[in-house]
Assembly symmetry: C2
Homo-oligomer: 149 residues x 2
């Protein structure tokens, strides 16, 4: 066997060992450590007109695909809305996570989307914003007092 062939094979062995080490690191999950996007959590609340509760629920049981697409494109994730009655008045509580870098800009982009505007023209009349909100606002932000991952 020629010396060159032998040294080539030895080099390949070294590569094999290096890859074996890399493979072990991978299997142990170390290669899977990726930069996690910064998540901002939002908890919000609004009132719901009792006579519109069914309409609101029906709309949200079958949300328009383009509205969901817009939510995602505007960096909203893990978005849930809950309904609860407090002293016979229905309220909506929402929780979502924002993974973008400019919340106000993304929300402005969502507000400029024609399909989202159409959707809101159906949902806004169902809701009763809390009295201390500015004109045009529907959801009021709540104060986060606890979080654990």
């Amino acid at each position: 066997m020629k010396t060159r062939t032998r040294s080539t094979l030895i080099s390949l062995c070294a590569i094999a060992i290096a890859l074996l080490v890399a493979g072990c690191a991978c299997l142990s999950g170390k290669c899977c450590t990726r930069a996690k996007p910064t998540v901002q959590r939002y908890g919000m609340i609004t009132g719901l007109k009792p006579e519109k509760a069914d309409e609101y629920k029906d709309l949200h049981a079958n949300p328009w695909p383009d509205v969901l697409k817009q939510i995602r494109e505007c960096n909203i994730r893990n978005y849930s809305i809950y309904l609860i009655e407090l002293e016979d008045e229905p309220y909506l509580f929402s929780y979502f996570e924002y993974v973008g870098e400019d919340f106000d800009a993304d929300m402005a982009r969502m507000a400029a989307d024609p399909v989202t505007q159409q959707w809101w023209s159906r949902t806004d009349p169902c809701q009763i914003p809390l009295p201390d909100l500015e004109e045009g606002q529907i959801w009021k932000g709540m104060e986060e007092v606890f979080h654990c991952d």
Copy 2:
């Protein structure tokens, strides 16, 4: 060079190629595809005594490490609590995700933990359970009407 040595080196080369393929798959993220646990989302509500709001907030700004550990061991993740005033009455909303396989069993385990019991002996007197709850219950579950990932 002996035939045995040569074939050993060739085998090692084959291992190197296999590991190279595995390494590429890993770098492309394919090895990171892990079974995602089933997640059950919970949105809950309770009242808060106005005169106890600061105490409740202080406790939750510095939660006891063993309480957090117990929460995690009982398969609760991504747990947030929000505070809001509705018609001058403070309420607490909580959102969390359950990743275990037996929620009732895990909650029973949490309730049996002495440190958690001590923690609850501080937090329960701050809260006003909704009137339609059973004796001993603090948080009332809300109805999820919408979710998108």
